[in-house]
Symmetry: C2
């Protein structure tokens, strides 16, 4: 079952004295890392998904078209056991979305509904705004301040290379609407969880606890939030600040989503597989180049380069997860479907296409030499070794938790990630080909090591 | 009528030996240029217009609110003869705007209608796309290629510091729809006339010749145009490229617009005035910080600083023109209203708020020493002297043409201007305060010279 690929390379005899120049053809063994440096697979996947499919929200017909496309693409790459594994999940879809300041001044705002937002109905909802500079001040507020009002949560997210600010700033979106609803707010608008200054608000899921009735919940763009803050300050002693909202999303009930899976089959079936993941679905506002066509391109290209060199000892299973954005349904479905099959190690790419700057490990002590070797091989790419244990990504979270897997995180530079995240601006032109290839090279190095490592990978 | 303003400046006695530090208060004569370096008037005007008025399209109720605001603001700045001069003009307003690719792939596009576009009606229009890489290829096309089709004109605008690329690339918008309509196209979409890569298409007026029936005309964002071009290439040998458009703008007929005018009155009534202009209206998609609240802030702040030093010999008339974007109606109305009053010199600020990098003159030979002195005084600000004659701006175009005025152009750096121009992104956060102040300083220097110059200014 071992296959070898060879590239025919023409090497010109370079001599200023030889005329005519002689050319000879030699056979050079395929070298996965060298080929990864010239990779075209990753960009090809990103270009295809963004051009031929476009937005592909979990549970929609567009996501089904994306799965059909994915299967054809993975087949065309000579990967094995390419398959779709469907599941059902509750599906929320966007409707109209408009917003206006109506007092003390009158002007429109750029708004987008958060996933799981309630509808205002077709007649716009008007209300007085109650301002909270941060999520924490909303939490601390008395119900009497909030009841019957439209909550506005401010607090502009700041850039971090590692994306670590998302957790703290993101609470306004993740659970702010639930907090506001429990305090009796009639609706909530939040400043977008994003670092840009464009009029493209950032969507994303929010979640209401069981028993809490969802309220209309939207994010306004950073420039609109800046403007609203100025109006809050101007209206301290004047007329109340009033806004009008039209958000008409709908719940479609249970719809079909699915994972697409492919494999590079290992030569030693007794070794548990490595699972590598991205997510195929995107938010509906953009074509999802950064989030997460890139991840699918990177992991697939790397696995393909490893396979082309020689079949590895361990199986590499490639998971293009469905319905990640709207509740990590694909990752959970995978963990359930494969709960009886032991896995060894999990990796994920879901943070754009900019360069990898850090590697983190979570491996057993017995694999110290492996980790050291990987770190040494990544160092020439400018990648530093982190101090904290790897934690994985959303789509492999459930299988990691169920089986206690080894993890390696190739951390991408997130400096500009939250300029684009969940906005209409997440499009193909944002891909930097040089940085994308650095990702593919790093992934190829790591996969080549771990898929040919026969020792224990679970910590 | 001469007034002098003095600033009280506290100068701390700086000595490491004196304890306690003594402070003494001295009276320093008002220096217009030094005050301009600390200017707050310009930003205050921009902040006010964008925060308290927002979008203010010519002919709409929002523009009337802007005029009311402008009059109060100019009065509060102790300017003279503050007044509104209304006129009537035909008014077109935006409706719904949506677009989709429907074959060979299916996905939405970000589109905005061009001013004077026809409506598709409430039922979206579908059609096959005929692709033109440039405006010139559309002009050269045979009617048989275009008739019954939806024209798509590509050709991405490139950045220039002086904005000179606008004329050539802009033809696709200015007259592309007219050309397409005359060849029988059912609609036209153009790549936005812009240099950014955001999903915010650039609007702007288009014009149809008398006798040509307007067609639905829209601009798609650069990322959407990129995508459509990729689809054109993919579909060369496959299914036709089809799009669906929903554009429902309306013509409201004659509506009221108006100019707002104020003056710094000169001490010598026999000297013809200097007219300085900006435009008060904006496009409807944004709050118009760059286009052109900035211009109104800059010219007004500079005139105010000149007045505070001492009343100049010549009157400086400040024109905040109405309805510029939609047909330069305010500038034309001004020229008509003041046709019998001789003017001396015209200047305009309508190219954002970034630094002035060049000064151009159109003055009589007799004013050579004046021009040399102005150029010398501007040089420390990094401003170079241009070789070509000044040409003025849109709002002063009609009065210049009617009276053959002298002109001085303070050319602003337009490198990022067409990232924002006519998009939803033209908002207050884009203002760079340091560059804005450099504009005010340069304008103050120039106005101080020309308003105190008693010689001939007309070439």
């Amino acid at each position: 079952m071992i296959k070898k690929h060879h590239a025919l390379v023409a090497i010109a005899a370079l001599s200023s004295f030889s005329a005519p120049a002689a050319a000879r053809t030699v056979e050079v063994p395929y070298n996965a890392v060298e080929e990864a440096k010239k990779d075209t697979y990753a960009y090809d996947i990103i270009e295809g998904l963004t051009t031929e499919i476009g937005p592909r929200q979990g549970g929609t017909e567009a996501e089904q078209r994306a799965r059909d496309w994915a299967i054809a693409k993975l087949d065309s790459l000579d990967l094995y056991k390419v398959r779709e594994e469907r599941f059902e999940m509750p599906t929320w879809v966007r409707g109209e979305e408009k917003a206006w300041v109506i007092s003390p001044f009158q002007m429109p705002m750029a708004i987008t509904a958060l996933g799981n937002s309630a509808s205002t109905g077709e007649i716009p909802m008007e209300g007085e705004v109650v301002y909270f500079p941060t999520y924490d001040t909303l939490v601390a507020a008395d119900t009497s301040q909030v009841a019957g009002k439209i909550v506005f949560v401010d607090h502009q997210m700041k850039r971090t290379q590692d994306g670590s600010s998302y957790g703290q700033f993101g609470r306004a979106r993740f659970i702010g609407p639930n907090v506001a609803a429990k305090k009796g707010a009639k609706a909530i608008i939040i400043r977008s969880i994003g670092t840009d200054n464009h009029r493209n608000p950032h969507t994303g899921n929010t979640n209401f606890e069981p028993g809490v009735t969802p309220i209309p919940s939207g994010a306004i763009s950073n420039p609109d939030a800046d403007n609203l803050v100025r109006q809050v300050k101007l209206t301290v002693t004047k007329k109340p600040l009033m806004v009008k909202l039209l958000l008409t999303p709908k719940n479609l009930g249970q719809q079909t989503s699915g994972n697409v899976i492919a494999e590079v089959t290992g030569t030693n079936p007794s070794l548990p597989p490595i699972i590598i993941a991205c997510h195929l679905d995107s938010w509906d506002l953009a074509t999802g180049a950064f989030d997460d066509a890139s991840g699918c391109g990177i992991i697939t290209a790397a696995a393909r380069h490893v396979k082309s060199q020689k079949w590895p000892k361990r199986t590499i299973r490639i998971l293009w997860a469905g319905a990640e954005e709207v509740g990590i349904w694909g990752g959970k479905a995978y963990a359930k479907a494969y709960k009886d099959q032991p896995h060894a190690l999990a990796m994920e790419s879901d943070f754009g296409a900019d360069r990898i700057w850090r590697v983190d490990f979570k491996l057993p002590d017995s694999a110290k030499a492996l980790a050291d070797k990987i770190a040494a091989d990544l160092a020439p790419l400018g990648i530093v070794r982190g101090k904290d244990p790897a934690s994985g990504g959303a789509d492999v979270g459930a299988i990691i938790e169920a089986q206690g897997l080894g993890i390696i995180d190739l951390q991408q530079d997130g400096t500009r990630y939250f300029d684009l995240h969940h906005t209409p601006d997440d499009t193909l032109d944002k891909i930097d080909l040089e940085q994308l290839r650095q990702n593919v090279v790093a992934w190829t190095i790591v996969l080549d090591h771990v898929a040919n490592y026969e020792g224990e990978l679970k910590p």
